[in-house]
Symmetry: C2
Subunit: 352 residues, 2 copies
């Protein structure tokens, strides 16, 4: 179990889930959509991805206030081929579009072997692992990616040009669990930079630029994260934009740097690809090879500078989930009062 931050209390995930659902309903979201949004936050809270859990509620409220997020969206398919669907998300909360998209991608994959859903005009997709895990637990392989507005330096530039865009791959793993890679294209997340700033701890070299575009390790000056592996990370992020945003004619980089009034608006596009590997091999054969592979890797000599055991992608999050399902989700003192204030304002019973 990860240590709890100072002043934090542990709350059962069910309580947090019901509380965030109630908040979204109070804000005008339908109960069904509010449940989907709450579930996405709870997924992250349980797995220890605290930056994508209930701590996001205030951001979602800001986006609903500014109408960048639509509380009553009209999701609809705008294009469809045998294996490909374009889903217009109508600025809905990301998890609503992504859950629907993953269902469609799997239906397509059942029919043709592989299905792609291009999600157009959504908002914060939350952790991509939510959806890639779901696809993998249904016995399929999944590739998911999202494009967002610039917040990360483009390789060779002294300013933000691309985003810390996420990428996820997942396959069915042992014991009904999925193997889930869920990574960003930045060398460090904005959340981590904010954390270091709050603690006034120095950054590692090569992590971020200041407002003038100079590399800095000063947590008070660090502004723009640098890409993972230079041209690799910014290249990945740019390719996600070129693939997810351009074909659906909803460009995020081009729009951000335009002189349009809403140039700074929050908006995302995403892809979910499902591959029905059951059409290629039996589940039992796949899992036998999976077991062999994991066994071989776990038998490698452990680098004690890193940890005490060798972990598969997503395994740390799974262990945390098991622990937090028993002991609750730690909520830091400051977040408790932020959420409590929201509860008072929207007349929702507060767990704090």
């Amino acid at each position: 179990m990860s240590p709890s931050p100072k002043g934090s209390i542990r709350i059962p995930s069910e309580t947090l889930n019901a509380f965030s659902k109630a908040l979204f309903v109070a804000k005008g979201v339908s109960p069904e959509h509010a449940q989907t949004m709450a579930n996405a936050l709870t997924w992250a809270d349980l797995r220890g991805v605290d930056t994508h859990g209930i701590s996001r509620v205030p951001m979602y409220f800001r986006l609903l206030d500014s109408k960048e997020m639509n509380a009553a969206p009209n999701l609809h398919v705008i294009q469809e081929t045998l294996a490909l669907t374009v889903l217009e998300a109508d600025r809905c909360a990301g998890p609503i579009a992504m859950q629907q998209a993953s269902d469609i991608a799997m239906q397509k994959a059942k029919l043709t072997g592989i299905g792609l859903v291009m999600v157009r005009n959504t908002t914060h997709t939350a952790s991509l692992g939510i959806y890639s895990e779901k696809v993998a637990k249904a016995g399929m392989a999944c590739i998911a990616l999202a494009a967002s507005r610039p917040n990360m330096a483009y390789y060779g530039a002294k300013a933000a040009g691309v985003s810390t865009a996420p990428f996820s791959m997942a396959v069915p793993g042992p014991k009904g669990q999925a193997i889930i890679l869920d990574m960003a294209s930045g060398i460090v997340s904005l959340g981590k930079l904010a954390q270091l700033k709050a603690k006034n701890e120095e950054l590692q070299t090569g992590w971020a630029l200041d407002a003038q575009g100079q590399e800095t390790i000063d947590p008070q000056k660090a502004l723009t994260p640098l890409p993972l592996g230079g041209p690799k990370g910014s290249g990945l992020s740019l390719m996600f934009e070129l693939m997810a945003s351009l074909p659906v004619l909803n460009p995020l980089i081009g729009h951000f740097f335009s002189d349009k009034e809403d140039a700074q608006r929050h908006c995302q596009n995403a892809w979910i690809i499902a591959i029905d590997i059951a059409q290629v091999c039996s589940e039992a054969s796949f899992q036998a090879e999976m077991d062999n592979t994991i066994k071989a890797l776990k038998a490698l000599p452990v680098d004690e500078r890193v940890g005490t055991e060798i972990l598969m992608p997503g395994e740390r999050g799974y262990k945390e989930r098991v622990s937090r399902e028993k002991s609750g989700v730690p909520i830091p003192a400051k977040m408790q009062s932020t959420l409590h204030e929201l509860a008072l304002k929207y007349k929702v019973p507060s767990p704090f």
Copy 2:
């Protein structure tokens, strides 16, 4: 134009192409397959990817000698659904399988919107950018990946567990050129480690482990490259194995660590996905958004520590190609004599 290595001479790419084709034919490969193999090497030679150009001929000869590479392969489709094909490559030279796979993936995509070819049991795939560029130049988006036997540390382990597996994404770019990301999952390539060893130049910290699994910057001791961004790079590489090798029941990691006689054999598996974006938007609209995006990025303030201009993925290789098409491909002195000896042995006219 990149500087030529000491003692190198520049040879027209057409000469190198004809020479390597003749060598492969002399080794028992059919003229058609030999041409495909030579073209793959020339693609890399022209783009400045010298580690994947004609310098690979000796390695291909070793693989043909050991029968790990099959000079007369019987490629055939072993499974097929509407949008997914499994191609048994019968240990052919990688480019033969990958070219065929990219054609099939595009045919599938024309039909259904997206096509996936799983290439089973191939050998060194060469630069994935060859195939992703081809798909992009045909107006489609492409995702390609390959799995290989362990040569890179798995995150948290003191020894090789995964490979420096490559990943490529490409889309149609301006003026008929493609935007091509072609990256490995290692923080440094084996080729770069060999280069530093030859020059006796120190590595950067965090690049490699020695034979004992300790991190080293000593070029004579560096053995195992470390993954790009720790768990991200080794996670990507492992996911490629789990997706490309397991469903086709040709595991590379599991086999490598088994007690089978051919555990160390060279073998690869790969995926090529083609997405027919013309079914989603017109080429003109896509390119208009592309132009806007590139223009915005190229207008960012340049980081003069990195270069004098901001480049798109694959642009450096394209510029090198333009230059080398005029001035030839630099071949270092040592490679000249290696290739000359092969020419003598196989009674093929030598350009050296």
